[in-house]
């Protein structure tokens, strides 16, 4: 055991790490680029929030490491950690005067200095409030750590809620407005919005209300959990959710799904459609990677093939940009062909890689994806598929004489497709084919020794995956009305793979969650577009380090499904040999 003294070394280490993080955030541009983006109107910009959150976090971590639940140490650690962290940043600011840092670091700009010094001149004076804020927030972080666990969790939830809602304020206020509009009560919405939202970001009152509400809700749910846990311990039978409630939940979800475009408005619907297209692809790749364990990094190829087939078959401008002629097919006639062609290519590309495993398979499929993209872009195929100019004038789907043009209309088509894919995935997973995939994923040699035909099983996975991807591609082409090779780069493959992993590999709800998290959120945070990939990369690494099983792991779901059988175990205690 270490001596019960104040661990100065750790404080310096964490303070230094905090400083490094602050420098990183500043130099990479996250601090200087969101000055005008208010989380809480006129009180806290997102730029400043980055600084505060970082010092808060490192204050918290310092306390966790060094306080030993001693308030005195916690205060000391928090203050020191914050001071050390902010010192790094101050050095950066001071260095900008004699050195032209901006020549190398583009973000060591006057804008950054302005944020950090609150626009005060000379900036040495401006650094005082910065230091003050940093130390206070670091200290707060340390104090929060000292709170009892339940309260601590509630407070952190409150902070997270305020920042999250504040960041998405504009969109959320639109949604609220739409909901009230649906209910036909505009005036109420106006009043409500005024309490919570200012012109930019949350209003101060809104922030306070949200903070308090979140704390209350969080505390309540913790309290309920305790009661449930106590009940379980006392041996009470688990309360089954009544059937009526289940039905009600189904009806409400159905209604929400149907009304979503109206609630969300056109901008959010656009995002939902994109998310749904990725979900559709995700279900496909989930079969290939999640079920069958075949790591495919060239999945975008089938998306491209589906899209190009749809484009070639339905474009009304074929004769003009390419040598091919108009076929004049409708979306619905071209759809099965697009899927079929994708499936065909799934098999064609699948055959040569049948003997390949793991990393090698990943790289070969990546190679396939890139080959297809470069070919699509080349002059070589330009006379056929338009080269870099792509293909324009792709037909829109027509339903009962209505042309689905806007995202709010296409929404239904995409969601239906995604639901279909989910259904097929679900049915196949729990069937003989699904078990063969999983066996193959676990141990290919043994699977074969059990009588599974690896060739058929693998090709079925590739083909199903390609079908969903081709489906998604066809819809994508119809949605945009024009396609370009640039839309089919490696990033799409990586995105889809990442979303199924972040959601929980092999898990069907995981695909949806992953798509919302990795496709939806970045779309929502348009201002972040410059930093989207940065956050994406960091998220992937963090996810693999801390939660490699994903947000909704497949195993947990399995346990739920088999609840009944677990009871049997308890009824007949293990009869294996002692």
């Amino acid at each position: 055991m270490k001596a019960q003294t104040f661990d100065v070394k750790s404080v310096f280490k964490l303070g230094g790490l905090g400083g490094f993080t602050l420098l990183y955030l500043s130099l990479v541009g996250l601090v200087s680029n969101f000055v005008t983006r208010d989380v809480i109107s006129k009180t806290m910009s997102l730029s400043f929030a980055f600084v505060i959150i970082t010092t808060f976090l490192f204050g918290y971590l310092t306390a966790r490491r060094t306080s030993r639940r001693n308030w005195f140490y916690a205060v000391g650690g928090g203050v020191m950690s914050g001071a050390i962290g902010i010192a790094c940043l101050i050095i950066l600011v001071l260095l900008t005067a004699p050195l032209n840092l901006q020549a190398v670091f583009v973000n060591a700009s006057p804008a950054l200095i302005k944020v950090l010094t609150f626009g005060k001149e000379p900036f040495t004076a401006g650094l005082l409030p910065l230091t003050g804020w940093a130390v206070v927030s670091s200290l707060t972080g340390a104090m929060v750590y000292m709170l009892p666990p339940n309260i601590r969790r509630a407070v952190i939830a409150g902070v997270v809620a305020v920042i999250a809602i504040g960041t998405l304020a504009q969109l959320l206020s639109d949604v609220v407005e739409n909901i009230f509009a649906l209910l036909g009560n505009k005036r109420a919405s106006g009043a409500l919005l005024k309490i919570f939202f200012a012109k930019k970001g949350l209003s101060v009152s809104g922030a306070a209300i949200i903070f308090v509400l979140t704390i209350l809700v969080s505390a309540f749910s913790a309290w309920r959990k305790q009661i449930v846990a106590a009940k379980e311990q006392s041996g009470a039978a688990q309360t089954q959710t009544p059937k009526e409630i289940k039905i009600a939940v189904w009806i409400v979800s159905l209604l929400v799904i149907l009304l979503l475009p109206n609630i969300f408005g056109s901008y959010l619907s656009e995002i939902v459609v994109t998310v749904a297209i990725y979900t559709l692809m995700g279900f496909g790749l989930n079969i290939v990677v999640g079920f069958a364990g075949l790591l495919d990094l060239g999945y975008v190829a089938f998306f491209a093939i589906g899209a190009y087939t749809m484009a070639l078959l339905t474009s009304n401008q074929m004769g003009q940009t390419t040598e091919l002629v108009n076929t004049g097919l409708s979306f619905w006639a071209a759809l099965p062909i697009s899927i079929g062609v994708a499936v065909l290519w799934g098999i064609i590309l699948g055959v040569p890689v049948l003997r390949m495993r793991g990393d090698y398979l990943a790289i070969v499929t990546l190679g396939f994806g890139e080959i297809i993209r470069v070919l699509a872009l080349s002059n070589f195929l330009q006379p056929k598929i338009g080269g870099a100019q792509g293909i324009l004038g792709i037909a829109k789907p027509v339903v009962f004489g209505y042309e689905l043009v806007s995202s709010q209309q296409l929404y239904y088509l995409v969601v239906a497709a995604a639901l279909l894919a989910a259904y097929v995935s679900w049915r196949m997973r729990d069937s003989r084919a699904g078990r063969s995939w999983m066996a193959m994923r676990e141990d290919e040699d043994v699977a074969e020794a059990m009588g599974i035909n690896l060739i058929k099983t693998k090709l079925l996975a590739f083909a199903t995956g390609a079908a969903f991807s081709g489906f998604a591609g066809a819809i994508f082409a119809a949605k945009l009305g024009s396609i370009y090779p640039a839309s089919f780069n490696l990033l799409v493959s990586i995105n889809v793979l990442s979303l199924i992993i972040v959601g929980g590999i092999g898990s069907l709800p995981g695909v949806v969650i992953g798509a919302v998290a990795l496709v939806g959120l970045p779309e929502l945070l348009r201002e972040f577009s410059e930093f989207r990939m940065l956050i994406f990369g960091a998220l992937l690494v963090g996810m693999m380090l801390f939660k490699p099983e994903g947000f909704w792991p497949a195993a947990a779901q399995k346990r739920e499904l088999h609840e009944f059988e677990s009871e049997e175990v308890e009824a007949h205690p293990a009869s294996e040999a002692a």
Partner: protein, 261 residues
Amino acid sequence: MTILSAKHVTKRFGGLVAVNDVSVEIAEQSIFSVIGPNGAGKTTFFNCITGFYTPEEGDIIFRGEHIRGIPADHITRQGISRTYQNIRLFANMTAIENILVGQEPQLKSHWLGAIFNTPGTRREEEYAHKEARRMLRFVSLRGMGDHLAKNLPYGAQRRLEIARALASRPKLLLLDEPTAGMNPNETAEMTDFIKMIRDELGITILLIEHDMRVVMGISDWITVLDYGAKIAEGNPEEIRRNPRVIEAYLGTGAAGLAKPA
């Protein structure tokens, strides 16, 4: 009646001859053991029979059919299944799912049937699940069906692996060191269990085993491999007395070795 005969089977890896001109005749419903020191080629010989490797030379005939060079899954469908020296269950699948995979050669339903949930598929699935539970009971794993295979205790994993192999309704079962890592009691139970498989299900058993008590206790016939070649065969009594076997495998004792001071 011979169920499987291997004739002059030879398998090489580069310069190494792992199995060298081995011939065996396995009688139906017998327990046939292969013994020999580590690296003698016993497991490679198993892999040749199950189609994981294709031997360069020789022939393997199972119930009148030539099976040399046929893909492993086809061989399983013809009625040979196996377990592994270092248990190779599908670790992240449940016990029941492991057995269901083992039933593969018995199942006929098509994936389209699964998607449309046809009555035929449903019936087959129901039957398969029932059979799998029956098999679990047979290997005394009743109630363990929903545990992930990797979470089962060692002995249970061994038995589950046998259950998975039995699920394909084999005529010939290959067991690769089924008692490895077991204490004498567990070993005795396993020995009885192997006998029971043969007696109750009428399945021929081909066994690799190091534990001489198991081998001598239950084998009808024993083949001894050393450096890939067959050096002896016979019934347990003959093997026990065979000088070559004593020299190569059972041990001659340390004649001439000085005791340390």
